[in-house]
């Protein structure tokens, strides 16, 4: 099946529309083992390394099944780099989805307009028809996936499923044919029902937040230092399956509402609202600490850090902020900071 690539620093791209158009949504991930040499010819070195990495891969050649790309508004990077993608990535269909920064009724109306425009452009470009019925079916399919992921996610808290294994599962779902994804998740769910907690070792239970992280190796690296990510608010994580889309009424309106109402990324306004979700998760999951990761140059997360630090201090929940370079070689340099945090908590 042909795919539509998704360049999205959050998870605000409505996969239901892509499915209803007859394509597989395929979220674009980076490769932290390559250098963005070609991308550096387009984007300055003081800009987000993760987005430069994505551009590098796209310039070198995307998966041959990808027939279009949707870039969804997140931070200034997604906004400004979209034009560069038009310049140097060889894909015919390119759409910039203006997922709104605000979360009020005017923003909702605008988002609905922009989703409808996406549908018009998909229909015109690929000569297809995206019906409400197809959208409703897609919503049902995505809701099954969301529900399965929510259930599987709980095994992290019970120390039956490691944070890294779960991260890998979510990534897989975000690039797979959704029927395959449902089958995969059902098998995994069955397996987990039988699985025993993986260790008696005294892991530090962590809530992971910050920039979206797509390198599972990074989660494994954290685990190797004595942590377990039992909950998160990331795009390759709970933000992807937080709730279900309402299956009644107008499907586009309900998809838009779902995205407006789900936990937000630092790119939204007011981003401080994130703390409401984070503090609730930290308390409900009784975590030992919170780790906030900022990809190098990730401005929205960098702005939020001092506020989160202050708020978690008020709650007396240990909090660690780390800037990470999207490059596996650099992870080792962070060992001391993580280890020190593990000892403190």
């Amino acid at each position: 099946m042909k795919k539509i690539g998704i360049f999205d620093s959050g998870v605000d791209t409505p996969e239901e529309i892509i499915l209803a158009a007859g394509f597989t949504p395929y979220r674009l991930f980076g490769d932290p083992e390559i250098e963005p040499d070609k991308a550096n010819e387009h984007i300055p070195p003081t800009h987000c390394l993760w987005t430069r990495n994505l551009l590098e891969l796209a310039i070198k050649g995307l998966n041959s099944d990808i027939v279009g790309i949707i870039t969804t508004h997140g931070c200034d990077r997604t906004n400004r780099e979209f034009d560069i993608w038009i310049e140097c990535v060889n894909v015919d269909f390119m759409y910039f989805l203006n997922s709104p920064r605000k979360l009020d009724s005017a923003a909702l109306k605008f988002f609905i307009d922009d989703l409808n425009e996406l549908i018009i452009q998909l229909e015109e470009h690929f000569r297809i028809k995206i019906t409400k019925e197809l959208l409703r079916e897609s919503i049902k399919k995505m809701n099954i996936i969301r529900k399965l992921l929510r259930e599987i996610s709980k095994y992290r808290k019970q120390m039956i499923l490691s944070g890294s294994e779960f991260h890998e599962i979510v990534k897989k779902v975000q690039i797979s044919n959704k029927d395959d994804a449902i089958a995969l998740l059902k098998v995994k769910q069955e397996e987990l029902r039988e699985r025993q907690p993986f260790s008696k070792k005294n892991y530090k239970k962590i809530l992971l937040t910050g920039s979206d992280l797509d390198d599972t190796e990074f989660i494994r690296f954290i685990e190797s230092l004595g942590f377990q990510v039992i909950i998160d608010d990331l795009g390759v994580g709970t933000k992807y399956f937080w709730d279900n889309v309402d299956e009644t009424g107008d499907p586009i309106e309900k998809i838009a509402k779902y995205h407006i109402n789900k936990p937000i990324h630092s790119t939204k306004f007011p981003s401080y609202k994130r703390f409401e979700v984070l503090s609730r998760l930290a308390t409900d999951y009784k975590v030992d600490g919170v780790i906030n990761i900022a990809q190098k140059f990730c401005e929205p997360v960098l702005y939020d850090h001092p506020y989160l630090k202050k708020k978690f201090k008020e709650l007396e929940i240990p909090y660690l902020f780390v800037e990470v370079t999207y490059n596996r070689e650099s992870y080792k340099q962070l060992s001391t900071r993580f280890s020190a945090f593990a000892e403190i908590i």
Partner: protein, 420 residues
């Protein structure tokens, strides 16, 4: 005549009046506090005219941050912000403001007082919204933000229509917000008057820019970098219009007498980006090469009425609709395709020999796309370009020797081209 000739390598006499105009702005702020009048912080790109129309005194912390830099305080303030956990990589305007507020700096040092409310928009960057969110929370004041959809190279007219509708709706919400916070009512007649002043101010500024097309160019960045500020802070007032008219008149005299801002103009340059406010003298050093900057998209951009769809009649009669349209078509945030086209046209019209592109570490939205802009200008239009790395407000990020060497080599390239 000799009186005019003496103006070589100096700013216009009229530009000296800028100090008085800005002094008035600062006095108006003081007066507002004395009188208990509502005040607002506003980011650049936000509709400052609407504040004046609602009898709210605007304050622009970006303007204040440049004052800090010019007074050599910015580094100290930036380091205070960094000591509070704000990254080295974040915007230096923002950090200057954090440090200035933390230090209770006076206006002369770039300090800004606690406002009644804050108004931001993401039309230029995310930072504006994040910045005011940080400060609104710290100061415990209400904050209204305007979310402006991003126009990209393949945005179509159908999209522009609902983008505009979304912005308009927010501007009407802004009126409601201001009425609630200040108790003032929106007055259409006052809005019309403010809009007219804003339009007139911008038109004179654009006329001044037209004069810069002349060879030799009558005006240098000595006049435009500072001269920009009324467009930021005072759009809607009459006083700066008079100043701009005086600047225009004097520049026109220079043109009529064939006199340039530079004694011997050899190279005409364009400067893209925000200048180094802590080292404005740096730009005067170009003069030793016979080079003059004759166009800065940054200082031109703020004469906002450049969209042909926005007529004076529309500005006067439908100010909110006009503002919604303008917020999507701002020079500083043009999509890459439009940016390349506008640069090429400008180079031709202003007879520019080369383009300096400031890869500003504090303004990633502006520096994004700079490499492709350079590539297209050089390859498609044969326009020499040079990218220089620095920062608008953080002196630690300017390597003066390195940039000077780059510029020297660039000028040499321009010289060789002229010989051909």
């Amino acid at each position: 005549m000799s009186k005019v000739e003496k103006t070589h390598n100096k700013m216009l006499n009229a530009t000296q009046g800028l100090k008085n105009i800005m002094g008035r702005h600062f006095l108006a702020i003081e007066q507002a506090y004395r009188d208990g009048k509502p005040t607002a912080w506003a980011t650049s790109g936000s509709p400052v005219e609407m504040l004046y129309a609602m009898d709210v005194q605007p304050m622009l912390p970006e303007n204040s941050a440049t004052v800090s830099a010019a007074q050599k305080f910015s580094q100290k303030f930036i380091e205070i912000a960094e000591s509070q956990g704000f990254s080295y990589d974040l915007c230096s305007y923002f950090k200057t403001n954090i440090g200035a507020v933390e230090s209770n700096a006076g206006m002369i040092e770039g300090g800004t007082r606690k406002p009644t409310f804050m108004l931001s928009t993401d039309v230029i960057c995310d930072t504006h919204v994040n910045w005011f969110q940080v400060q609104a929370e710290r100061m415990n004041v209400p904050h209204f933000t305007i979310d402006v959809p991003h126009v990209v190279s393949n945005t179509n007219n159908r999209q522009l229509n609902y983008f505009k509708k979304y912005i308009s709706e927010q501007l009407y919400e802004l009126v409601d917000f201001m009425e609630e916070v200040t108790g003032h009512e929106y007055n259409e007649e006052k809005a019309r008057k403010v809009s007219e002043n804003s339009w007139n101010l911008s038109m004179v500024w654009q006329d001044i820019y037209e004069l810069r097309k002349n060879v030799p160019c009558p005006i240098s960045t000595r006049d435009t970098f500072g001269g920009l500020f009324p467009l930021f802070c005072m759009p809607g007032l009459k006083a700066p219009i008079k100043l701009y008219k005086r600047m225009y008149k004097e520049a026109k005299e220079r043109v009529d007498n064939g006199i340039g801002a530079l004694e011997k103009e050899e190279f005409r340059l364009m400067f893209e980006g925000i200048p180094f406010w802590y080292n404005l003298k740096y730009f005067s050093k170009l003069e030793k090469y016979g080079a003059i900057i004759v166009y800065e998209p940054y200082t031109y951009a703020f004469s906002k009425y450049m969209n042909p769809n926005v007529t004076k009649e529309m500005v006067l009669n439908k100010p909110i609709e006009a503002m919604s349209e303008l917020m999507m078509s701002f020079w500083y945030v043009y999509d890459l395709e439009t940016r390349i086209k506008k640069f090429a046209e400008t180079v031709k019209d202003w007879k520019i020999d080369g383009v300096l592109l400031h890869e500003n570490m504090s303004c990633r939205p502006n520096s994004c796309g700079l490499y492709d802009l350079k590539k297209h200008l050089m390859e498609d239009y044969d326009i020499p370009c040079l990218v220089i790395n620095a920062d608008m407000n953080d002196p630690r990020k300017l390597n003066e020797v390195q940039v000077s060497n780059q510029i020297e080599s660039f000028i040499e390239i321009l010289r060789q081209r002229k010989k051909k």
